[in-house]
């Protein structure tokens, strides 16, 4: 891959964001309304709660994306009381397993972003995109359609 292709590949990097309907998605919405700038690399999947996010979703997303962000309400603020607290345990294990098998920590990230944190959402996506663009090319689990 030459330098130009690599640049293009970086611009092309896809980031999937699983955002909970009640907080983080509303936060993203607020970022939009408030006209906070953030890169267009992000593809948002709205989920009812961060507790809905199965680690499988994240691994599957990585078949076709360079990074995945999952974000829900801050602990204590879950619309369903404890969805994000149950999710937190799943995420902890997933994260440590991914680190263990050598996946760069930046590829899979989690956060809690409230409906009021439009600014922080935009900032988060900026940092994330920046981090991801600094990473090497993701092998998509070694799986490519062209074998």
């Amino acid at each position: 891959m030459n330098a130009k292709d690599e640049m293009d590949a970086k611009d092309d990097r896809k980031i999937v964001a699983f955002l909970c309907n009640w907080c983080s998605y509303a936060g993203a919405d607020l970022a939009g309304i408030s006209r906070f700038q953030y890169p267009p690399n992000i593809r948002v999947v709205r989920v009812p709660c961060s507790g809905r996010v199965d680690p499988l979703f994240i691994l599957i997303a990585l078949k076709n994306a360079d990074a995945v962000l999952t974000s829900g309400c801050h602990p204590g603020d879950c619309h369903y009381t404890s969805g994000n607290l149950v999710a937190r345990r799943k995420f902890s294990l997933l994260k440590s397993l991914l680190d263990f098998v050598g996946v760069e920590p930046e590829r899979v990230q989690f956060d809690w972003i409230s409906a009021a944190e439009g600014n922080r959402f935009a900032a988060r996506i900026n940092t994330l995109t920046d981090q991801v663009s600094k990473l090497g090319v993701w092998d998509r689990w070694g799986s490519v359609v062209d074998d």
Binding site: L59, P75, L94, P105, F110, G142
Partner: protein, 285 residues
């Protein structure tokens, strides 16, 4: 170690249960046809109890069979089988009262490294052989040497190793099918609507299968090692299980299948649970 005394006590107990009509079937092991492998046996005639064995070949976790057993059954268990039964009871997959548990200390001569639960934790009758009975409530402090060694490698080396391991996988699902913690009616790996992963042995699909398999049994795995023994391709499955056993131990001070009143760690939460993923993921706070 084949202890003839233990064996005859097991056989006697099985015979008595069948004779008294307490159970219709005894699930145990009989001699296998391959060296070092005893074979699961379903005994319903008391005369057949003599065919039961309790030896080095009894490594399979028999708890798996209780899931599909419709008859009133007795099961002969070692430490890890009994822990799987505890899990299945707490997960409402089986009813304790439908099952007669004959416990005996693990007969494997080369037992699993670090195993501290050789003697069953749950039983109706324990065949005593003088083994030390440990009162175990938590063994979360247990170290997994394979994990610690592996973590000394660089991320690239770790990734290369894991990719190499899963690329051996032929997707026979033996690891899943022997695992007593795997009892979904329809496994995500075989689901068609949606089809999460492909049916080929494409390395990515293999990898996702093994990572999710490990995560699905996290907090429930009793480290019986059946998955690894079953794998015909020698995939180092236990490494992933060990990592998660260690994590569950250190994050939630939990190890599965030790107490009947256990609450499985992924079915619950604490407000002040650690959030290591935030720091590692470059998050705030």
């Amino acid at each position: 170690m084949t202890d003839t005394n233990t064996l005859s006590k097991i056989q006697e107990k099985a015979r008595r249960l069948l004779e008294d009509g307490k159970v219709e079937v005894v699930i145990g092991f009989a001699a296998g046809t391959v060296p070092g492998k005893s074979t699961p046996s379903f005994i319903s005639a008391k005369e057949d109890c003599e065919s039961l064995v309790w030896d080095n070949g009894c490594s399979l976790n028999l708890a798996k069979y209780v899931l599909k057993e419709k008859r009133k059954a007795a099961i002969i268990v070692k430490g890890c089988d009994s822990r799987s039964l505890v899990n299945l009871i707490t997960e409402n997959q089986i009813k304790r009262e439908n099952l007669y548990i004959i416990g005996a200390a693990c007969p494997l001569s080369a037992s699993c490294a670090g195993c501290q639960v050789k003697v069953p934790v749950i039983y109706d009758e324990l065949i005593e052989d003088g083994s030390e009975i440990r009162e175990v409530s938590t063994i979360a402090e247990r170290r997994y040497d394979d994990v610690l060694e592996f973590e000394k490698l660089s991320a690239e080396e770790r990734k290369a190793y894991v990719y190499g391991e899963v690329s051996k996988c032929i997707r026979c699902y033996a690891c899943r099918n022997v695992c007593p913690a795997c009892y979904c009616k329809e496994c995500f790996a075989e689901k068609s609507l949606p089809q999460w992963i492909g049916k080929t042995t494409d390395i990515g699909d293999n990898l996702i299968f093994h990572l999710i398999r490990a995560l699905h049994v996290a907090g429930r795995c009793v480290d019986c090692g059946s998955c690894q023994r079953a794998c015909p391709m020698g995939v180092n499955l236990r490494l992933l299980n060990h990592k998660l056993l260690m994590e569950v131990g250190s994050l939630y001070q939990f190890e599965a299948g030790l107490k009947e009143d256990q609450i499985l760690p992924l079915n619950t939460y604490q407000y002040d649970d650690p959030q290591p993923f935030l720091a590692k993921g470059g998050g705030h706070e």
